[in-house]
């Protein structure tokens, strides 16, 4: 309650300092409408800007169905599932609950945009954060839709699908266990929510509205970063960088983080990176669904910056190490 009050006071203070800020978005809209013709001319004469907008829109449009799925499911959890029901369903021992949470990620046929709001709702319903995070990491990587698209992209190489499943599952379980032992849940700052509705339906819509605007806004931030990378860094640069196994693993791990391709499509990109060894491409497919710029942006929004700046590097390191090991053993 105190933190909530502090947040309100801080927001209040800020608003008194910048009273014009509330008029900024509508004013911006009016300006955009007025200069629309010039804007279109400017953009179509600069192919890089035009490509930037196309990529930004396509990431947002493609993520919308998954975002809505995640937002509706998480509003269901927040509104209709009692905290005791969730904890009863999971094993009492947190150490055991982590792998159970990872495996139940296979039940959510979505991509990473769906799992962030759901993990947020699980934490708010009293699930231990480490367990919710395990689900957050596993769900976008091991669900049937992703595995099928991987098998289509790597036709005739079933060991890639197996390696991806094992690598992603292990990554999420290891991160879950590490956070259980070493993580500090006090780092998590969930933004205060003010959903006070008279009816159940009102609460449900209120929760969904809040998540949609919040997770969606951060999604757009991540999409803008990914679009910038797409336009600024030519794919051909990758050809120069792929050499030894170590350097190609590192290059594709970084590439996975900055391009932020949806987990349902990343297998096709991985399949096309033929200049890299198969293990490095597995790293790309294991890292992408658990951490990338848009996921990081959404984690900052949902769990707070202090949490995300610790959790994201942990995830990245575990994913790279696990995927390299699994790739060496299985492929």
């Amino acid at each position: 309650m105190t933190t909530e009050l502090a947040t309100v006071q801080a927001a209040n203070h800020e608003r008194q300092k910048l009273p014009w800020l509330r008029f900024a978005p509508p004013a911006f809209l009016v300006v955009v409408v007025l200069v629309r013709g010039h804007l279109i001319a400017l953009i179509s004469s600069h192919p890089a800007i035009s490509a930037w907008f196309t990529v930004l829109v396509s990431i947002s449009l493609q993520a919308l169905p998954f975002l809505v799925l995640g937002v509706v499911l998480s509003a269901c959890v927040r509104t209709f599932v009692s905290p005791t029901a969730l904890t009863r369903w999971l094993p009492r021992s947190p150490t055991l609950a982590v792998p159970v949470a990872a495996l139940s990620g296979a039940l959510l046929p979505g991509c990473e945009c769906a799992s962030v709001p759901i993990a947020g709702s699980l934490v708010s319903r009293g699930v231990r954060p480490a367990i919710a995070f395990t689900f957050l990491l596993a769900a976008p990587a091991i669900n049937p839709v992703v595995l099928v698209s991987t098998s289509v992209a790597f036709a005739g190489q079933p060991q890639v699908v197996l390696a991806r499943f094992v690598g992603s599952l292990l990554t999420s379980v290891v991160v879950g266990w590490v956070w259980l032992r070493l993580g500090r849940d006090s780092l998590i700052r969930m933004p205060a929510r003010h959903i006070l509705a008279k009816s159940r339906l009102g609460t449900f819509v209120g929760e969904a509205r809040h998540d949609m605007l919040h997770a969606g806004g951060f999604l757009v931030v991540g999409a803008a970063v990914a679009a910038t990378i797409n336009v600024v860094v030519p794919r051909a640069w990758l050809d120069v960088l792929g050499g030894s196994l170590v350097s190609s693993v590192l290059v594709l791990a970084v590439f996975a983080v900055i391009v932020a391709i949806c987990s349902e499509a990343d297998a096709f990109v991985a399949a096309s990176l033929t200049q890299f060894p198969l293990t490095a491409r597995l790293v790309f497919m294991v890292v992408g669904p658990v951490i990338d710029v848009k996921l990081f942006s959404m984690q900052v929004g949902t769990f707070g910056r202090r949490f995300a700046t610790r959790f994201a590097p942990l995830t990245l390191v575990v994913a790279v190490v696990v995927a390299t090991a699994v790739g060496t053993v299985l492929m």
């Binding site: 008279k198 949609m212 033929t274």
Partner: protein, 245 residues
């Protein structure tokens, strides 16, 4: 952010998602398979927004009233405004599909992992040109070493891209972008053409001609398939500008 603004944003997003599918504009950005998903998601968001506009469902709690009384708009995350950006862009600026700019930054070679398991059926025994996708031409020319292409003339539709970024030299590639899911994962499929006029980048053309053994080593994934142009004409951009694996 005020409640009315939040509901307005939701209505705008939902409405835009549905209208881009309706107008076919969504094909500039994502694969056609997402059509019904986009409509469903747009409808859910639209209904959420409309529900909010027509119901004042908020319970009068002490905290809430204080919030409203003091600064009126403490009820929504301000970052939500950003959600308007991509959807405003769609309806106001209407970005073009990825074209020569993106293609020139990609090698245009198709990885051998995309070679189909079974060989493609033979082409019909006809003297008329056979229309095919650039991806299919690639598979027949490179992965099947041109076996099925030697007798037929083919007709390909794509856009013009330069051999090197920014170059306006005589050589050009007939190009099509391919996507797996959305334009963020796009790669280029290029065909090396000989003959024909050098038109400006991003001009859509239909080209008729004969496959021939190009300069590149046959079967190597770096080599592009080659086409000797017999005739070409400009066409309007196809409704669906991309190819799919």
């Amino acid at each position: 952010m005020r409640r009315s603004a939040q509901d307005g944003i939701l209505v705008a997003i939902g409405g835009t998602a549905i209208t881009t599918v309706w107008s076919g504009l969504y094909l500039n950005f994502v694969k056609p398979g997402l059509r019904w998903w986009l409509i469903a998601a747009g409808a859910v968001v639209l209904v959420m927004g409309v529900y909010g506009v027509f119901t004042d469902d908020e319970a009068p709690s002490k905290g809430a009233q204080q919030d409203r009384g003091v600064h009126g708009d403490h009820h929504g995350p301000r970052v939500g405004w950003l959600l308007l950006l991509p959807f405003l862009v769609v309806s106001m600026i209407v970005p073009a599909p990825l074209g020569a700019f993106s293609a020139e930054r990609d090698s245009g070679a198709m990885p051998s992992t995309r070679a189909p398991d079974v060989s493609l059926p033979p082409l019909p025994a006809t003297s008329a040109p056979v229309t095919m996708a650039l991806g299919e031409f690639w598979v027949r020319a490179i992965f099947e070493k041109g076996k099925s292409l030697s007798r037929n003339r083919v007709r390909l539709v794509g856009f013009v891209s330069s051999r090197r970024a920014g170059s306006t030299g005589p050589g050009w590639y007939l190009t099509r972008m391919a996507i797996a899911c959305c334009a963020a994962d796009a790669w280029a499929i290029k065909v090396d053409v000989r003959g024909g006029d050098r038109l400006p980048d991003d001009t859509w053309v239909a080209v008729t001609g004969n496959w021939f053994r190009g300069a590149g080593s046959l079967g190597a994934s770096e080599a592009l398939p080659a086409l000797q142009i017999e005739s070409m004409r400009t066409v309007t951009k196809p409704r669906d500008p991309y190819e799919y694996p």
